[in-house]
């Protein structure tokens, strides 16, 4: 079941949550809506679910939501066939786990409603699936956060939705539970293959879990693509800065000023001369805890601070001291025109990617 959103606008008072966003989610895939808070990702998800209606514009096509080519814009949330998992789960606190999962089936009109027996079978099947068999009689407030999350998921799956939507599914959990659940959700998706969209502000979560990542910023979509592509070929300075640590360097020597981005792990530190592309720098400090050592450096010509990540082994061989003079080789950089550029000025393939100094 593919999902398409056309040109959606949404404002809350003076705040613009969505500024003409287009979205297309392929069938059967796991898609992440990734962005900082306030970027409009949750609003977009709620519009897909029918929990929020997009603003009307002069364009009649604006704000349309299509499921598999079929226009569902005027279909209320309950009939769209979506399973929605709320950020804080929204479990019915007066119902048991069993009754929560059965809810969607038991509120169907009598003629469509499965028998009590069938409902019970379905619920037990789901309890197995979420590995909570035997806890069906508990109330939501007797469960841990991770358990509640899985119950919310089972409740959404019970009605066999065409589309599964999750709003910050792991946001309220602590780090370890979050990792386990992430892996579990991935396995689950591989089994069920239901089209799934989830919202997250955690880039690691999006890159690890999703087949497709939609990066959002300030009510707009910045980039869409598989995790590898979004990470390796970011389409804008925002995307590169949002997806992990990066050094942002002004390229002052050329007349046309531009900004150069290089990730810490794409920097080689050499003690010897390393070609004319190499950048001289001075070691400020070495942090050697962890699998990777982090080196903080000061660039020789501009004085910019640069962070580099070097494998432990290599760091030991380099034997760096504070104040040592070294040469840096950037294995992989992204270039963008400098400050003051306008979005319209960006070429369609906005960045020049090249391997500086790879000749060595």
């Amino acid at each position: 079941m593919s999902i398409e959103v056309r040109h959606a606008w949404k404002r809350f008072g003076t705040f613009t949550a969505l500024a003409g966003v287009n979205l297309s989610v392929p069938s059967g895939r796991l898609t992440a809506l990734l962005g900082p808070s306030g970027s409009g990702k949750t609003t977009l998800l709620r519009i897909i679910a029918g929990l929020e209606s997009p603003d009307a514009t002069s364009d009649p096509d604006s704000g349309k939501v299509l499921f598999h080519g079929e226009d569902v814009s005027n279909v209320p949330a309950g009939r769209r066939g979506v399973g929605f998992v709320f950020q804080h789960y929204a479990l019915f606190r007066h119902l048991t786990v069993f009754e929560n999962i059965a809810f969607g089936l038991s509120v169907r009109p009598r003629r469509d409603r499965p028998t009590t027996r069938q409902i019970a079978d379905r619920v037990n099947e789901l309890l197995d699936l979420i590995q909570l068999s035997g806890l069906g009689g508990r109330y939501p407030d007797q469960l841990s956060g991770g358990q509640r999350q899985r119950v919310a998921l089972a409740r959404a799956l019970a009605v066999q939705p065409r589309v599964l939507l999750l709003d910050e599914p792991f946001g309220a959990l602590d780090a370890r539970v979050r990792k386990d659940l992430r892996r579990w959700l991935r396995t689950l998706h591989e089994r069920l293959h239901v089209t799934t969209v989830f919202v997250t502000h955690d880039q690691e979560e999006a890159l690890e879990l999703a087949d497709e990542v939609v990066v959002m910023n300030q009510a707009r979509v910045e980039q869409v693509g598989p995790p590898q592509e979004v990470y390796d070929r970011p389409a804008s300075p925002f995307v590169i800065e949002f997806l992990g640590n990066v050094n942002r360097l002004e390229r002052g020597r050329t007349a046309a000023k531009s900004v150069l981005y290089v990730r810490p792990h794409d920097i080689d530190i050499r003690r010897e001369f390393a070609g004319e592309h190499a950048v001289p720098a001075r070691v400020l400090h070495v942090f050697s805890a962890g699998n990777y050592g982090r080196v903080s450096l000061s660039r020789g010509d501009t004085g910019d601070t640069i962070e580099a990540e070097v494998p432990r082994q290599q760091l030991r061989e380099l034997n760096l001291r504070d104040g040592d003079r070294v040469n840096l080789v950037f294995r992989h950089v992204r270039l963008f025109p400098a400050e003051g550029f306008r979005e319209e000025d960006l070429p369609s393939e906005p960045s020049a990617s090249r391997d500086a100094g790879s000749g060595i």
């Binding site: 040109h7 606008w9 404002r11 613009t16 500024a19 003409g20 966003v21 287009n22 029918g50 929990l51 929020e52 209606s53 997009p54 603003d55 009307a56 514009t57 002069s58 704000g63 209320p76 949330a77 707009r220 979509v221 869409v224 979005e343 319209e344």
Partner: protein, 288 residues
Amino acid sequence: MRTPHPELSPNLRTRRRRVLPGFGLTLGTTLLFLSLIVLLPLSAAFIRTAGLSWEEFWGHVSSPRVVASYRLTFGAALAAAAANAFFGVIVAWVLVRYEFPGRKIVDALVDLPFALPTAVAGIALTALYAPTGWIGGLLEPLGIKVAYTPLGIWVALTFIGLPFVVRTVQPVLEELEPELEEAAATLGATRTQTLRRVVLPALLPATCTGFTLALARGIGEYGSVVFISGNMPLRTEITPLLIVTKLEQYDYAGATALAVVMLVVSFALLFGVQLLQRWFFSPERHGR
């Protein structure tokens, strides 16, 4: 993927489609009930008064007997609200901060004036404070008369208004961060200094709200006062009682004119509470 800036996009209207159903039905029901039960009858008082000439109206609301009733009603209500502000903060403090046997019972008892019908409170207080009563009998030799004097009215209004300050201050006190007091202590303040300069100011907004609520309630109170006051014109006759008296004499115009004066005062107080809340919780005040 890029779309024009919001400013450039023509003709943006908000489509008010509500996701949860029942808005029209429930809002309609609410407004219907509100209009029929509250707004329409209350407007009847104002419309009836609008039929009077200014001189007639002024005559009704400024006769000496009426003015004496204002003075008594507002005076007693103010004094009772002030007593409640003082004792109410202490009661709330004791209930929140101290453990003592019977604390839960005292806490529950504070609601008694809300739950006990005013007529019952009236006769009980009268029986106690009459010269032959338990407390009245003790005070009589000292030359203090309570029942059938303004002091009796004050007693009744203090009873009626007791829960307001306690119940507005209590939640604020419960949520007061202990760090505030600890910080004051680490800065060298004594316990009494901390209470006076840190805790009491934090309780001020709630105390003012409770005071105003108790005052508003006291001004309109009827049931508990009529028994203990003795109802002597010019001396112990409160305004609500005067309204009833005029009604019983079929002086509808006089009763309604008085009612309008009281309604205006009550609305002003209600509005005052709202302003007070808004002012105390306004961002500017917290910014400073």
